[in-house]
Symmetry: C2
Subunit: 166 residues, 2 copies
Amino acid sequence: MSDFVHERHKDPTRLIRPRELIVACVPMRSNVNISQIARTASACAVEKMIICGNASLISKIARDATSHLCVSTHRSLSPVLKKLKQEGYRIVGIEQASHSQNIHHFSFARRTVLVIGNERLGISDDILGQLDDVIEIPVWGMPHSYNAASAANMALYEYCRQFPEG
Amino acid sequence: MSDFVHERHKDPTRLIRPRELIVACVPMRSNVNISQIARTASACAVEKMIICGNASLISKIARDATSHLCVSTHRSLSPVLKKLKQEGYRIVGIEQASHSQNIHHFSFARRTVLVIGNERLGISDDILGQLDDVIEIPVWGMPHSYNAASAANMALYEYCRQFPEG
């Protein structure tokens, strides 16, 4: 009736160049969320992730991200974002803000830092002031918001959809 | 320097018709994953979700999905998928399988049941035999797979991207 046969552990898709996407998390409440974001980022072949304060990866959740993703920890995000902007990265936050753009119509720059906000507080005003773009993921129903890791996950999906070859 | 100002709790996007997407989970290992899928589905204004066996939603994670999403529990998925197929739903599973299509190039039917596989075992052969399509989300890096809830989340994002108005 069907020709669908399981093929677990297929080869991954090849990139023709390394990803220039960096994922940067503001100080978060939950290491579970950070670890889920790390796992997805690693599976997307993102090479660098920035986390703040006392955050750390839970290896059972982050899986191979603990060994394949270069995670750097900073006291605050602001100085490192400033430096990355000077290196030509576009700083893009996911947040509900004035002038934010619908991610469905947003074209990512290859060289992007994706900023993920805190679960409750989102992205603080000082970091908002450093962003080149704010993108918003549409919601249609209650609770009118996505979990922080889910939103990061969707943005990673969209970036990779736009750059399937890196 | 920036005109980005927080606007938490913006109004959601309006649908011009109710979503005809149903999310169906095979028996899963983790109610956390099921609850995360439910939260995202509810925020996407999905109205129906099907779960199996002893699964249940954790309200702290699923949030408003517990009151806004109609969740029905079945002993197994097979009979309910058969019935939904007769009602004109296209049955689409996320899985690595022979003849699976890259989700980046896949056009969803509006009337779709999205089947989510088990965290370890994926979608079993009997259910694979009932699918009209198998879609695959590309992976580029280790661990060469997404968490089940993350994969569901990406597929929900893609469906809603294709049907922003329902």
